[in-house]
Amino acid sequence: MTDKSITDFQQQALVLAGQQTSPDWLAGLREQGAELWSSAAWPSRKTEHWKYTPLAPLQKVGFGRWADVEADWQDQQEWLDIDATRLVFVNGVFHPEHSSELPAEVVRFGAAEGAARAVIEKHLGKVVDAEKHLFAALSNAWTSDGVLLHVPANQRLEKPLYVIHVSTATAEPATANQRLLLVLENGAQAEVIEHFVSGASEQNGFVNGLTEVVVGENAELHHYRLNLEEENILHVGGVHVDLQRSARLRAFTIAQGSRLKRIDYQVNHRGEGAELDLQGLYLPRNKQLIDYHTEIRHMVPHCTSKEVFHGIVGDSAKAVFNGRIYIHPHAQKTLAELSNKNLLTSNKAEVDTKPELEIYADDVKCAHGATVSQLNLTALYYLQSRGIPRAEAEVMLNFGFINELLQQVAQPAVRAYLGPRLAQLFSPNSELLRHLSYE
């Protein structure tokens, strides 16, 4: 590292991370994180992992403490209409008065004792590879509060867990660290929704959100990560998953907003017969940048993964999609599919998409494809030839492109929340939104 300012930048984060309070038993993880963060080479344009996503906006803003929240932070907050166990964090700070009473399966790190603490110590920081993921190292170093969901064997979590992360407007640099650990023992079932929102556009906040997931044998998790923030926030996030034998993960994610938003998904198939179904949408506009990096690692035979991401990129926005599938020599009979489709709605919009297949087993079925296109003129003509006005036809087609995935979302509350909000992105004129079907 030759650039002194970058060293200062990393140092600044380290100082703040060190000031966080946490239980003693997390000290080991934090120290290890701090060490990795300070020794890591800062990404440059030559770093493959960050090639199309410069971190300059974050370096320019830097890190800081979030000021106390204003009394009116809750105005204009719109959350899912769902019967769930709700946890609300504002700028990384837990707000019990807006949260539900926690069931036995949900424990905050600071309150963890006995068995819960043992589960955290067993898994926290173990699913994610912090040597490879720079911001996971920072998250480890910064860990103070966090939430554990632990569903015992053969139990079904009664209500979905709904974790809301609010970032309020801040002119000063401010940093929030979000940490979630989901552990489903063998045969357990659960549904978890993570929802990131942010306030008004004066925003120099940075959110570093990391989720680690262990899905036990024959267990099933439905996981949602909704990253719906305003224009200027900075957000780096990761979802890192270990799937045991015959485990199933049905995951959905959506990203909108942010001048820098980078979300990593890494899913490790560690037990035979595990299944992954991952669907994602991203809709950067204005000058936003959204980057999804996914890596599916098939380590054992007979696993399946199906991954579909659709993006609509408008204005001067930019999207990056990198989908890697790694198939270990032992992972025979793997079925892996990856599809990434992009729709550009402006001449200045940009997308960099790269499917990466690394296959070391010889008896596998893999399919992958990436497309970048503009509005489908044949489909447009078809709709117009039935009397539908061009403007409405365009909205129907654009919305249809994301609705292909949205209509498959299992949780009705997520569909009902996203449908009208996403529709509005395509036209402010409600007349043009009359024939969209998201319910």
């Binding site: 489908n376 003129l377 044949t378 489909a379 003509y381 078809y382 709709l383 117009q384 030839s385 039935r386 009397g387 539908i388 006005p389 061009r390 409405e392 036809a393 129907m396 087609l397 919305f399 249809g400 492109f401 994301i402 609705n403 292909e404 949205l406 209509q407 009359r434 024939h435 969209l436 079907s437």
Partner: protein, 249 residues
């Protein structure tokens, strides 16, 4: 109803229609036959105003007005309907909402009150029964993963819902087995009326056993080279198109 005079049209600067003339009166069924590449599909695309199909000469008068001045959607609302040879699959756009959008736009243009969702659902279900299309197809994406026959029946469903004045069937018989062909033909025949006209574009005489035309035209080299009654279709079936092309040349 429709008067085409000396129509010339190009695609990618290549002239496909080279002086086509045709007159259609209300209630008439005209079959247009011809070899591949003769311009049969181009005619439908030009009449519906598809982008990329450039009219370079001639005129098209529809119900007394210049058809070529209208946008695609305006032509549709004025009662012009093209049943596509290859209906487009549009995942994510529900067939039901697509049909409702089309009917809403058409009824608005005709100063008819909008149908409520319930009324429309009932109408769509009844009509889909008539074309032997299970009501579950209304909930799917537009033509999404429909078989060839299901797509053609969905075209017929749209035609029935929109009640057009002039219907162009572009090789509606292609890819259909005999049962599906009969369903489609019965649907078309049920729609025949003294006010409604049809242009049936086909490569084969087979369809015309079921939809009996008043006139048969042979399109070759971008022009109509021969016209006759339904007997002409049978002659073509027996002798092929070669003799006509030679006769013209």
């Amino acid at each position: 109803m429709l008067s085409i005079k000396d129509l010339r049209a190009s695609v990618a600067e290549q002239e496909i229609l080279k002086g086509l003339s045709l007159d259609i009166k209300p209630g008439e069924v005209h079959a247009i036959m011809g070899p591949n590449g003769s311009g049969k599909s181009t005619l439908g695309n030009v009449l519906t105003g598809r982008q990329g199909f450039q009219v370079t000469g001639g005129s098209v008068t529809y119900q007394g007005a210049d058809l070529l001045e209208l946008e695609t959607e305006e032509r549709a609302r004025e009662g012009l309907f093209l049943a596509f040879q290859y209906p487009v699959e549009i995942p994510g756009v529900s067939n039901m909402e697509f049909l409702k959008a089309a009917v809403d736009a058409t009824r608005k243009h005709r100063d008819l009150p909008e149908l409520s969702s319930v009324e429309f659902l009932k109408l769509a279900r009844e009509t889909s029964k008539k074309v032997d299309l299970d009501a579950s197809f209304l909930k799917r994406g537009v033509n999404e993963a429909f078989s060839g026959g299901e797509k053609k029946r969905n075209e017929l469903l749209q035609m029935m819902l929109l009640e057009p004045k002039l219907c162009i069937l572009d090789e509606t018989d292609s890819g259909l087995d005999i049962d599906a062909l009969q369903v489609v033909a019965n649907g078309v025949n049920a729609m025949r009326s003294p006010e409604r006209s049809f242009i049936v574009v086909t490569h084969y005489q087979r369809l015309l056993d079921y939809i009996v035309p008043d006139f048969v035209h042979v399109l070759a080299g971008g022009r109509i080279v021969k016209s006759g009654d339904k007997e002409l279709a049978k002659e073509l079936e027996a002798k092929g198109y070669g003799w006509l092309e030679q006769e013209v040349a």
